[in-house]
């Protein structure tokens, strides 16, 4: 896992064959969205089919941050890939639900045992 400074934000990313996971993102805000987006897009090489955002430690999400997530979601969809939000923190989940975007994103809740539940549109469940 690599730890990278995006301007003043420190975030991590971990890449396996077709999957990349970004984690330790302290905030997704309008003021940081531009830098984070540039960083993430740079890492989304063509072979990547799943982009995961571990938002368990993200304690701030505003409409600018939502715009960033949607742009990545669109980018992944255009290459037939997926954008998954992992273990969103309570405030992130609340903002996603308030704006009804929890129906748009794949949201995966990892349990302590390591199993994961991906929900989308509240109906689709995958191991």
């Amino acid at each position: 896992m690599l730890s990278v400074n995006v301007s003043t934000i420190v975030m991590k990313f971990e890449k396996s064959e077709k999957r990349i996971r970004f984690s330790d993102i302290p905030e997704l805000s309008a003021s940081r969205a531009g830098e984070i987006k540039a960083f993430v897009l740079e890492k989304l090489s063509p072979e990547i089919s799943t982009a995961e955002f571990d938002l368990s430690r993200t304690d701030f999400l505003d409409s600018g941050g939502l715009g960033f997530l949607i742009s990545i979601h669109k980018s992944m969809s255009s290459r037939r890939g997926r954008c998954v939000i992992m273990s969103p923190s309570p405030i992130v989940r609340q903002v996603l639900e308030l704006t009804r975007l929890h129906k748009v994103f794949d949201i995966c809740d990892e349990t302590t045992s390591g199993s994961a539940t991906i929900s989308r549109n509240r109906s689709e469940v995958a191991p």
Binding site: S29, A30, S31, D62, S63, S71, H73
Partner: protein, 602 residues
């Protein structure tokens, strides 16, 4: 929990600074003992609103700091954000954009997360007031458990100034007083926006609230009338008989002041320091001790507010004067806004009524022109406004026999349309006298003379009887422009205008009848003066009767069907009067001897 704290800060107009300032406020709220999650929601609200202001700041004020005042109360926190954008229409019910939109969710989030949001526009700028209920942090969740609680030195809001130690009461900057004022104002705004009260009712509501706030006992609000020389009592809290006394006293005092200050205008006197002590001598018991405040909006005196106060309290304290000013300005804006709304509603209703009137008038005009083996007739009738004073009717009496009226009621719009409709009924009633157009005009004059005289209006009309077998027409005229006739074999164009004054000028007036032999291949044109009064592009020259005759003469080489004559004539007039809007109703009736077999499509 440390309630009553107020943070007054200036935030740099930059997204990073906004974010940092909001984060600092969030930390401060946790330190004060508020629930961390709700404090975070409040932080999101602040960021969304402030980002919006940064994005929409006017070019001149793009570098100006944004003032944010956060007031903390036992169960709520509110933010007052002083907006230096142009101001906007606050959407009370923002909708979410499409799922793939990357923006447009900010204000929706604000509405979802805040308990109350009010946007207040006044002359001194715009103010966004947000309230969020915040509960205390649960045990174990208080300051420090968030992991972000700063030390005292870290609590440095990213702003030019910050003061969280304002006194609880006393000065004009008193946060509790500001809070009270704003709560009162927004309470009234909410009530006003939910009600359909008229402007006096709005004024009463607002001034009652002001009186409670400054402990005033009564109020009277006088509004300046459009003549700018008189007042009207718009709202008052006292009995009607006492109202009159105070109103008269006030008018008397203002008149006396005017007499004694020759070089001052009425407006200048009222804007100056009003002699309250003198005025108090005029007041009936128990309405002593009035304070008169001018209400000036956009540099113009809008009204005068009179507030009564207890003698024991002396004069109105300065901090209350400021409140009175704020409420007065707000009141004036509300009254103006209500009036604009009322006027808009009236205008909408009037438009609908005019549309109905137009439909009725159109329905009264002949829908489909009769087909006849001897004559071809075509008509164009255009009104300058929704409804007009021109009308025509074509009675097909028998094959080759017509009675045609063309009428122009003086003026335009609804009054003209009303008389046009009455006139049409009278003509219809007299159509049995078709062989005598003069008789029809005479009867119409008899019926309408008194009514037209009482409103100082008149009507011009022309009635034409056409008979193909007898190859003649009979024409009578009531002050109407001449009928134009042209023989197909003769290029000369002739005016026919039998003697007759307009209807409504004299009670027993004479209408001449003129018999016109119908030559072979004739063309006849009947019209209202809207045609000949058309002005040229420079607005200097009328088309005139000579212009019309000249146009018909120059188009005499070929025998055109009446609808072609009208189309070409109107095309010519459009070019003649380029850029000029049609200012009068315009009706044209073209009649010719039939040269082709009649077909339903014609």
């Amino acid at each position: 929990m440390n309630c009553g704290t107020s943070i007054d800060c200036r935030i740099l107009p930059d997204l990073h600074h906004v974010r940092e300032s909001a984060a600092n406020i969030h930390r401060h709220l946790i330190k004060l003992g508020y629930d961390p999650h709700q404090s975070r929601e409040f932080e999101i609200i602040l960021v969304e609103v402030l980002n919006n202001l940064v994005a929409h700041a006017t070019r001149q004020k793009i570098h100006e700091n944004i003032r944010l005042v956060v007031s903390c109360h036992r169960e709520s926190v509110n933010a007052q954000i002083f907006d230096h954008s142009h101001g906007f229409i606050w959407n009370e019910n923002p909708q979410l954009p499409g799922d793939d939109a990357e923006s447009g969710r900010g204000l929706y989030l604000v509405h979802q997360l805040a308990d109350s949001v009010q946007y207040f526009r006044n002359l001194e700028g715009n103010l966004l007031w947000i309230e969020k209920k915040l509960k205390p942090a649960s045990p174990g969740e208080s300051s420090g458990t968030d992991g972000t609680t700063p030390s005292a030195t870290q609590l440095n809001i990213n702003a030019d100034s910050m003061d969280d130690s304002l006194p609880a009461s006393g000065s004009e900057q008193d946060p509790d007083m500001n809070q009270e004022v704003l709560s009162a104002l927004f309470g009234v705004i909410r009530e006003i926006s939910e009600s359909r009260d008229s402007s006096p009712a709005v004024a009463r509501r607002l001034l009652h609230r002001l009186c409670c706030l400054i402990e005033s006992e009564w109020f009277m609000f006088f509004e300046v009338l459009p003549d700018r020389e008189n007042f009207r009592l718009t709202a008052s809290s006292i009995e009607e008989d006492r109202e009159r006394i105070i109103e008269n006293s006030f008018s008397l005092l203002v008149k006396q002041m005017l007499l004694s200050a020759h070089d001052h205008t009425w407006d200048e006197i009222l804007r100056g320091e009003f002699p309250n002590e003198v005025f108090n001598n005029y007041l009936p018991s128990p309405y002593k001790w009035a304070h008169v405040c001018p209400v000036v909006i956009a540099g113009e005196l809008f009204g005068v507010l009179t507030l009564g106060h207890r003698p024991s309290s002396g004069s109105i304290p300065p901090k209350h004067r400021r409140l009175i000013q704020i409420f007065s300005e707000f009141l004036a804006i509300q009254i103006q806004s209500r009036k604009a709304q009322e006027s808009q509603i009236r205008s909408t209703v009037l438009k609908q009524e005019l549309e109905i009137a137009r439909n009725i008038q159109q329905a009264l005009l002949p829908g489909k022109l009769p087909l006849d083996n001897y004559f071809e007739i075509s008509v164009s009738c255009e009104t300058a406004q929704k409804v007009g004073g021109d009308f025509f009717d074509i009675e097909h009496l028998s094959e080759g026999e017509f009675l045609i009226y063309i009428v122009d009621v003086m003026g335009k719009g609804i009054p003209a349309a009303l008389f046009a409709t009455i006139c049409r009924t009278i003509f219809k009633y007299n159509k049995s006298h078709y062989r005598s157009p003069a008789h029809i005009l005479s009867e119409t004059n008899n019926y309408l003379f008194d009514d037209l005289c009482s409103v100082e209006m008149f009507i011009t009309a022309q009635v034409l009887y056409l008979n193909a077998r007898e190859k003649k027409a009979i024409l009578a005229n009531a002050g109407h422009p001449p009928l134009i006739i042209k023989s197909g074999n003769n290029p000369s164009v002739r005016e026919v205008c039998p003697e007759g004054l307009p209807i409504g000028i004299y009670r027993d007036t004479f209408f001449e009848e003129q018999v016109i032999p119908l030559p072979a291949n004739f063309d006849i044109l009947m019209y209202t003066d809207g045609l000949t009064d058309t002005r040229d592009a420079e607005n200097r020259e009328y088309f005139g009767i000579n212009g019309l005759k000249s146009w018909i003469g120059s188009n005499s080489d070929c025998h055109k069907a009446p609808h072609e004559v009208i189309r070409e004539l109107k095309g010519f007039l459009r070019k003649f009067s380029t850029h000029n809007i049609q200012s009068d109703d315009q009706t044209i009736i073209a009649i010719s001897e039939r040269r082709t077999c009649p077909s339903p499509s014609s």
